[in-house]
């Protein structure tokens, strides 16, 4: 009996009238956990019953505590007939199982019914007493913390980032069981909700076990999804990144509450674990020993053998001596070896994180993705979900080898998804191939001096842009140039990634949301023929999506994509592709060339004219975009070098031959000339359409910016007003003569109109930025396209538009403040941070040029009356982290404190409902997260048989989503929190049958419940805090000079 769950039912309010005669209700409550049920007394004739029950006590295993939800049912007592259910509340008690999360769940929960929606509220108090039992044969993993956040949570420090954890569980879907034919819709929905809740709990527990086995204490970037496979069953799967986290306030490493010694671990039967190596080497072996074994383990499974060959192909030596500078070379090689060895221990060196501790990310290779089309078959034995496991293993293996081909040993920003239509399923995985710093991957036992020197020599700000692959053996055609920042290493001309923009990256101007949208018609087919047809279409779609992205990026005058997410959705008669990413101009990468249109029939005069007209339009758009996004890369370097621009073909060879002599790198770098333009050949009407569609994307209205990453590159002066929202649109295609073009146009219009609507709706927040814009597409029926968008609008202060984080100025300023002498003595070193080969100017000028490099528009620079002020502001920005400026304090806080004439209406002031913020971001602008209370992972079904009466499909779904938000907020508030961060709506499956006046919707949401404190409040308490933060971050290697 390792745990005691205690529940008290306090009261209800706003209950529905269940007895028409009296207009009242005789309510009582059933409290169920596992197989035990308690009941309260019946509270007669009231819509606001006060049960004030005793403590109901459940004595349960901690395994059950993790798996089972607490189920509270409110009923209306009926003497003569069956009691009528009013509704239910499911409470996930997992947050009570961490030692430092919530200690009690207490508050008002909406009473939810799958047919009627929310029907009143119930006040419940839940507590858990946990007993440690170290000697048991452990199946539970209480104490492992879960975070949806895809970066190291704000009040923690990553001691070790262990790596990838994954698990899936399968079951029959109650909706498709025979018994459902005789079950009421309510009973069926509730069975499904309960099952998914149970499966989620089980999944989390199993993942937790894996984490404990890796000797971690947390899962970060936890992403759980379910696949509704229809007849063939229900799959709940999850991936995440195992970490050992350390609470920042307490220096001692946090150990799980019921962590068991590693010796016990070998008894854990890991039937599903596909890596036999884990067993043979024995968990009793300390992990760090494993990481030090350099020889590739022969005991690896099939995947490993293939990866061994990949390894030998990987031109790591070439990298070391070939393109690296003479100082960086040997260290880099060493680093590479270390990383490699650390990662070799992992079957899948994947990380679901999208943002990393400083110094973690060394190089980024590019996006790697893999898809496969599968035919679903009935899952025969739910206890051994081998097929599904094998499918994913296959895909992951492919991802791994793609990464290897890019000279990378790890994949970051990794995610997995599925799209199912009838019996066909597309499995997708994508991530960013990367080279990582081993420091975070093992037990911190790397030789200290080596590590330090490594850090000294690695250019952190542009380092991640440097290619990890060998330029002689490039995995794909790319133009390489010397880094525009350090001039020492090679960089590609464009960089695509799935991660967030590293905080120390130097960006010029602002970023923007870039989307590629694509539809392809497909013949209706059955089973294998269908799967084959889809498989054949996929490569074309990928190619076209990629081309569109590239064109749009160039049209924006930018050179890198972050947060790239490509979603391919399968329907009965079509495939949809939607790629979203945030485009930016990375200072380290070359200026992108334009887009050149080439016609096929050059003799035709009018055609020629048309072409040149189009060309002009494109050129104008590029120029306009550069202005709009404030992309003014410095051109000084060119003047200084003043070398002729070589032919593109020769250039790479030229660079190759010169790369050995790194001394003269800057002088000899000839790579910064105007790139040859990207040529779009117009040979048929299709291509014409493409060019037209390129130009149809309208930029957001003035005062609006948008991105799909956490932070908008180029904006960091957020004010505290945030508005998270979900918007859903479904369009019906006219089924007559559908062509690919018409389809594309429809889809494009759908997305563009949706964005326009968002800009319009949120216009009162201007200046503002839509962050983490997350589009998902589904094809619920033949002629229906559904697009769901979740994002957060954040206001920022236009008058203080400071440029992005960690600009060269900040770096040099920090140096200047810490050691002035050094600054004077080593001017060149400083310059290499900001502007290479610039003769050392007087300090003031240097700052000015450096900041223009960082992209602060002249107009805004002028706002600072003196440079001293700018320096102060920047210094402050550094200390407070990248999201906060001084103005935040003065700006009036949340959305609500308007200036409505409140004087005469005092009753409204005493509202009892606390505000709970929701955001898909991992932070709250102008606030500090002080505590993580646990993961929120909720699944709801709503169904109606009176669709018209509920306002049609829009009314139905609007109400449902509002109810989902309400239930999330209520759970967070009951945990003692005031916000959900990293909120995500993972699924919104909507089905309608207007003829029958019916509709059904399934929604799955998750996020991290947190407590936050306004920074303005914090500063009053301790003004010393920021300084300490700075120091601690310095020691962590954030500021390396």
């Amino acid at each position: 009996m390792p745990g005691k769950l205690k529940v008290k039912i306090v009261a209800g309010r706003h209950l529905p009238v269940m007895d028409r005669a009296s207009d009242l209700t005789d309510a009582f409550v059933e409290v169920k956990f596992g197989n035990t049920t308690f009941k309260t007394d019946v509270y007669l004739k009231s819509l606001n019953p006060q049960w004030n029950s005793e403590w109901f006590k459940f004595e349960v295993d901690d395994e059950d505590l993790q798996d089972e939800p607490l189920q509270i049912t409110v009923l209306d007592h009926d003497t003569y007939s069956a009691n009528d259910a009013i509704g239910k509340v499911y409470i996930d008690i997992d947050p009570l199982l961490y030692s430092e999360a919530a200690t009690v769940i207490s508050g008002w929960f909406p009473i939810y019914d799958t047919i009627h929606g929310i029907r009143g509220e119930i006040n419940v108090v839940v507590k858990v007493d946990l007993f440690n039992d170290l000697n048991r044969f452990r199946q539970s993993s209480c104490g492992v913390k879960f975070f949806c956040t895809t970066s190291i949570p704000k009040c923690y420090r990553a001691v070790i980032i262990h790596g990838f954890v994954e698990e899936l569980v399968v079951n029959e879907d109650p909706e498709y069981q025979w018994i459902d034919r005789i079950r009421t819709p309510r009973a069926s929905n509730e069975a499904r909700q309960r099952l998914i809740s149970l499966m989620s709990g089980e999944l989390q527990r199993k993942i937790g076990l894996k984490v404990l086995e890796m000797r971690g204490n947390a899962v970060v970037g936890y992403l759980q999804c379910f696949d509704l496979e229809g007849e063939s069953g229900l799959v709940v799967r999850a991936i995440g990144t195992a970490c050992t986290l350390d609470k920042l306030s307490s220096p001692a490493a946090f150990l799980p509450a019921c962590n068991s010694p590693s010796k016990e671990m070998k008894e854990i039967p890991f039937n599903e674990d596909p890596n036999p190596n884990t067993h043979s080497s024995g968990p009793s072996t300390p992990l760090k020993n494993q990481t030090y074994s350099f020889s590739p383990s022969k005991s690896y499974s099939r995947q490993s053998s293939s990866s061994d060959t990949d390894l030998s192909l990987t031109p790591k030596t070439g990298m070391g001596s070939g393109s690296a500078g003479k100082e960086g070379g040997p260290f880099k090689a060493l680093l590479r070896q270390q990383t490699q060895s650390a990662l070799e221990q992992r079957e899948f060196p994947f990380f679901t994180l999208t943002a990393f501790p400083p110094g973690f990310l060394v190089h980024v290779g590019g996006v790697v993705s893999a898809r496969s089309v599968k035919l679903l078959d009935r899952i025969h034995n739910p206890d051994e979900p081998e097929t599904r496991d094998a499918w994913w293993a296959e895909i992951r293996q492919e991802i791994k080898s793609h990464a290897k081909a890019l000279g990378c040993h790890a994949v970051v920003g990794y995610s997995e998804s599925t799209s199912i239509c009838e019996e066909v399923c597309i499995l997708s995985a994508s991530g960013t191939a990367a080279v990582l710093n081993p420091r975070f991957l093992q037990d911190g036992t790397v030789e200290g001096c080596l590590e330090q020197r490594l850090e000294e020599n690695l250019p952190t700000r542009c380092g991640f842009c440097h290619i990890p692959y060998d330029e002689l053996n490039m995995p794909f055609p790319a133009h390489l140039t010397y880094c525009y920042n350090c001039r020492k290493q090679k960089v590609p001309d464009v960089l695509f990634t799935t991660i967030d923009l590293p905080t120390d990256a130097t960006v010029i101007g602002k970023g923007c949301l870039i989307q590629a949208r694509l539809c392809r018609l497909k013949k209706k087919a059955q089973a294998e023929a269908n799967a084959t047809a889809i498989s054949n279409l996929l490569p074309f779609m990928e190619y076209e999506v990629h081309t569109q992205l590239m064109n749009k990026l160039k049209l924006k005058g930018m050179n890198a994509l972050f947060g790239l997410r490509i979603q391919i959705t399968v329907g009965e008669n079509m495939l949809m592709g939607l790629a979203s990413a945030t485009g930016v101009y990375l200072a380290a990468l070359p200026t992108p060339g334009g887009i050149q249109i080439a016609g096929k029939t050059p003799n035709d005069g009018s055609y020629e004219q048309h072409i040149s007209h189009m060309q002009k339009k494109i050129n104008d758009t590029i120029a306009k975009n550069k202005e709009l996004y404030e992309i003014n890369p410095p051109e000084i370097s060119e003047e200084i070098i003043g070398s002729p621009i070589p032919e593109p073909r020769q250039r790479s060879r030229l660079l190759r031959s010169q790369s050995e002599s790194s001394d003269e790198v800057t002088e000899l770098d000839l790579s910064h000339g105007k790139k040859d333009a990207f040529v779009l050949e117009i040979d048929d009407t299709d291509a014409m359409e493409d060019v037209h569609s390129l130009l149809t994307d309208v930029p957001p209205p003035s005062g609006f910016y948008s991105c799909n990453t956490e932070i908008m590159p180029g904006i960091n002066n957020w004010t505290s007003e945030i508005q998270m929202f979900t918007s859903v649109r479904v369009i019906r295609l006219s089924s007559l003569n559908l062509t690919n073009q018409a389809l594309n146009k429809n889809f494009n219009d759908l997305c563009e109109n949706l964005l326009k609507s968002l800009y319009f709706k949120l216009r009162s927040m201007i200046p503002c930025c839509l962050c983490h814009v997350n589009f998902t597409v589904s094809l619920p029926e033949d002629e229906l396209i559904q697009v769901t968008v979740t994002a957060v609008a954040i206001t920022f202060d236009k008058n203080q538009a400071l440029q992005t984080t960690k600009t060269p100025v900040e770096k040099s300023l920090q140096r200047a403040s810490t050691d002035n002498e050094e600054l004077l003595q080593f001017p060149l070193e400083l310059c290499s941070d900001s502007l290479p080969s610039h003769p050392f100017p007087p300090a003031k000028e240097h700052l000015e040029s450096a900041s223009s490099n960082s992209g602060i528009p002249a107009a805004q620079r002028d706002r600072c009356s003196s440079w001293i002020e700018l320096i102060k502001l920047k210094a402050q920005t550094i200390r407070r982290g990248s999201i906060k400026t001084t103005m935040t304090v003065e700006k009036a806080s949340p959305v609500g404190d308007g200036n409505f004439r409140n004087r005469s209406a005092p009753p409204c002031a005493n509202s009892t409902v606390g505000v709970v913020k929701m955001t898909p971001l991992s932070f709250i602008p102008g606030a500090k997260i002080t505590k993580y209370l646990g993961i929120i992972n909720m699944f709801f079904i709503r169904e109606t048989t009176s669709l018209r009466e509920e306002g049609g499909v829009s009314g139905f779904l609007h109400a449902f989503i509002a109810e989902v938000f309400a239930m999330v907020r209520a759970h967070v508030a009951a945990l003692g929190g005031n916000a959900v961060v990293s909120y995500i709506m993972k699924q919104c499956v909507f089905m309608e049958n207007p003829n029958k006046n019916q509709a059904q919707c399934l929604i799955n949401v998750s996020g991290d419940a947190v407590v936050f404190v306004r920074e303005s409040d914090l500063e009053v308490v301790s003004s010393q805090q920021p300084t300490t933060n700075c120091q601690s971050s310095c020691t962590e290697g954030e500021v390396t000079t």
Partner: protein, 339 residues
């Protein structure tokens, strides 16, 4: 391509004040969109008509969902479904319960029943206020009336407590409830010149100072007893001689005016006669004075002297009752005396 479904749900419920007004005014989505287009919003924001349509639909849906809660404002405060900042909640409630002057003048004093509701069509046509808006306003009156009808304590406080209205609006509702309860006639042609404000002012004075069942019949002696009437007249005339521009008219009319004012008091004891209070006041006092072109200052002088002089009438024993009656009546008459 047609939009089957189109929704936007914010964690903080978005309230557009302009659209709320259009919704409250009872415009259909199509009309509201047309009105918004006319306001020049498309030019200001660069939005398209389709965007405006979608936005308007969305707000209308939200308001429709909120309406149920607005019927019991404390529910709006405690509900969990819509996260709305308190200041916005107050705005929603206040605007929802606000009413049109033209509408309230039509309904004031009428029984808040189904029968009246049937007349809303005519009222809508007459006032140019949409039927939908008329219904909302009528239902608001009725709802407030029903809730506070049987309650003890201050009418204004009860309304404020149950509907969370501002002080001003709660007072207006108190007047509406008071008028509906007493069924005062306000619709006669000769009363058309009076505004809701005039009536509300009177209602407030009456609610504060008058209690039902006082034996106002006792005052009748002032006009029934000829000596007393003559004495009263001479007292007033002596006091006002040379001070009143319309002295001769006053002197000539004194008995008629006095009879009118005292008879109003007597009628207040009969429930069915109470309804004519304002008709009587206008007919018996306001109109005669107005036809003789009394300036307001003279009316004030006269009423002050008229009610004060009673204290010198030795034969009259109901001084306190008279003061209470005349204090309120004087206030009302002065308010009602205008063009």
């Amino acid at each position: 391509m047609t939009s089957e479904l189109d929704i936007f749900v914010g964690n903080t419920t978005l309230i557009d004040e302009d659209v709320y007004r259009l919704w409250l005014d009872g415009y259909s989505v199509t009309d509201a969109v047309a009105l918004r287009v006319r306001s020049g919003i498309l030019e200001q924001t660069g939005a398209t008509a389709a965007v405006l349509q979608s936005d308007t639909m969305d707000h209308y849906r939200t308001f429709h969902m909120l309406e149920r809660l607005l019927h019991a404002p404390p529910k709006l405060l405690h509900q969990l479904i819509f996260q709305i900042p308190p200041s916005r909640q107050a705005l929603l409630i206040e605007r929802y319960y606000a009413f049109d002057e033209a509408f309230v003048r039509e309904v004031l004093g009428k029984k808040l029943s189904k029968g009246t509701k049937k007349d809303l069509d005519d009222i809508s046509t007459k006032t140019g206020i949409t039927l939908k808006s008329c219904r909302r306003q009528f239902d608001n009156f009725k709802r407030v009336f029903k809730v506070v009808e049987e309650m003890r304590g201050s009418l204004v406080d009860n309304i404020q407590q149950h509907f969370l209205l501002s002080d001003r609006l709660a007072r207006d509702y108190a007047a509406i409830v008071f008028f509906a309860n007493n069924r005062f006639e306000t619709g006669k042609k000769k009363l058309q010149y009076l505004s809701f404000g005039d009536f509300a002012f009177c209602a407030e004075l009456m609610i504060q100072n008058w209690t039902l069942g006082a034996d106002l019949k006792e005052l009748k002696v002032l006009v029934a007893d000829k000596d007393l009437l003559d004495l009263h007249k001479s007292l007033v005339c002596t006091a006002l001689r040379g001070k009143l521009g319309v002295f001769s008219e006053m002197e000539a009319n004194f008995k008629n005016l006095s009879r009118g004012l005292v008879n109003v008091a007597a009628k207040l004891t009969h429930n069915k006669d109470v309804r004519d209070l304002f008709v009587d006041l206008v007919e018996k006092f306001v109109e005669p004075c107005r036809s003789d072109h009394w300036p307001l200052s003279d009316v004030r002088f006269f009423l002050n002297q008229y009610s004060a002089s009673v204290h010198s009438l030795d034969g009259f024993r109901h001084q306190a009752l008279w003061d209470r009656y005349m204090g309120t009546l004087r206030g009302c008459l002065l308010r009602l005396y205008h063009d």
